[in-house]
């Protein structure tokens, strides 16, 4: 994602208005590495500026995606995650216990494409997404038996 002042420029140039809601959403996303859900962003924005609607959050997030400022990722946890990291190719670690999502840098193109071309007949690759599932550092530390505690 671009800097907030760049976003403001982009918004002005595309006839979009700079509202407190949008600015607060930009702020929450800026340098965020947590892969928050829309609901989480909504809560943070609300604590910053008092009033937003969840609909506005969704609208702005979809808008930012279509401006290529964020990516919307679905790692199978039931809700979409919003990721401002679009400049650096990366993949994701997903904790099966706490559902936290972390970035991981992986260059798989080499071996990938080699094995792939042997296997797949015709298929024009646009992108490759890797999700690694397991237990994060925190949940490992707690011991996996903690999973079933309430």
């Amino acid at each position: 994602m671009n800097s907030i002042s760049n976003l403001v420029d982009i918004y002005r140039l595309t006839n979009r208005k700079i509202t407190p809601q949008r600015l607060a959403i930009f702020n929450v996303l800026d340098s965020n590495t947590d892969h928050p859900t829309a609901e989480e962003i909504y809560e943070q924005v609300k604590s910053q500026i008092g009033n937003v609607s969840l609909k506005t959050v969704y609208q702005t997030l979809n808008e930012l995606e279509s401006l290529n400022q964020i990516q919307i990722i679905d790692v199978g946890t039931g809700t979409s995650r919003y990721d401002p990291n679009v400049n650096q190719l990366h993949h994701h670690l997903v904790c099966q216990n706490c559902s936290k999502v972390k970035d991981i840098e992986l260059d798989i193109s080499g071996e990938m494409l080699k094995a792939f071309s042997q296997n797949s007949g015709e298929f024009k690759i646009d992108r490759v997404e890797v999700v690694i599932r397991g237990l994060c550092e925190v949940c490992l530390g707690k011991g996996s038996s903690k999973q079933s505690e309430l």
Copy 2:
């Protein structure tokens, strides 16, 4: 997935009843490589035995997953896909035009783990899922301009 007669045995051994609905669902899944949705399975079962409810289809599919007979995959198309291929490690190609899902065999563990251990601190890997997005053979043939036709 096991053979249908094996499934019948498993069901009997675990105090489950063999119903026409379940048998029809087994049949639809048997050797199926289409990664159908619950709705699609429901339609096929309906054309075989006349009456089922979608709820029964979901129930049976979840049951088969917990018996490790199928896997439920989510490739971000908005609906879960049901895959009887659980004995052979594999990944998925997803067509961005027609949403078809195809199996692909890829052994990424080597390079993967190497790059990974350099990058990720502590994380206990359970499984690695790769989704390759692009255009399938059919949609390539039609030319990508067909995408916007109605």
